[in-house]
Symmetry: C2
Subunit: 141 residues, 2 copies
Amino acid sequence: MKLTSKGRYAVMALVDLARFDNINPVSLRDISLRQGISLDYLEQIFSKLKKNEIVKSIRGTQGGYVLNKNPNDIKLTNIFNAVDEKVKTVQCKKESKKGCNGKATKCITHNLWDELEIHINTFFENKSLKDLLNNNKETRV
Amino acid sequence: MKLTSKGRYAVMALVDLARFDNINPVSLRDISLRQGISLDYLEQIFSKLKKNEIVKSIRGTQGGYVLNKNPNDIKLTNIFNAVDEKVKTVQCKKESKKGCNGKATKCITHNLWDELEIHINTFFENKSLKDLLNNNKETRV
DNA sequence: CTAAACTTGACCATTTTAGTCAGGTATGTA
DNA sequence: TACATACCTGACTAAAATGGTCAAGTTTAG
């Protein structure tokens, strides 16, 4: 199971972006400063977000990033997939001698992890960026 | 977030144990062979399970381990806690300059991770060893 | 034409993971 | 009482993942 700071940063950055992109594109530098995330690291993350068409980039002076979709249509699943944070609890490789016990049958807890995976993914599929925005209105500057 | 093979092995081993401990204590050697888990690694894991009173040990020849509770009373939460697999999605250290943004306020996604944590823990709290046993009856040898 | 901002890819220190290894200690059975 | 079996403990470590940094660009507004 992977759920690390890369995914967390991606979400934080996108919430930040969603708040400020009404008029102008938002530069990574600004996000970096506001959220306390290394600029270089943000670049890696946004490169992936862009490939997955979650954001658009605008080059040149006064450039930056803009959401490519309505916040309501950006689910957390999309974000995590984009930055390679697959919520995978089992890696029972079909071929490998290792994993899933090295046997033909599923390991005895296989079903459990499948269930968990679904449980978590459901959570992420039902949460959009917009939900997070609403959630944070009260703490807004 | 941590959810790795140590927790997975712990659950696998306990399910195995629960199946065979009706009459005699079960040796780690047997579990190791059946589940394909290194004996030395199992010993580490069972040491923790014992400290947390999930299993009892019986020394000497023909010794081994036995469940210390009814399978119905052993929740997955207990198991994961025992082997230090805390399901923690946020580590916003209160003091540290890093974490939670280095600021006094919660980071903008703080609530989200709290929710997720609850979501996952609920899942684990509602699943007992007994559930897993039932779940595997069909594939039983 | 130049500074701001995006873009790419290589690199790396630290931490975690998933064990191994070596040496015990306890105890049932012959 | 010997001894094999099985528990018990702690140190150690190779490999992978994490969380970045660094360097060298390209693009475009002004």
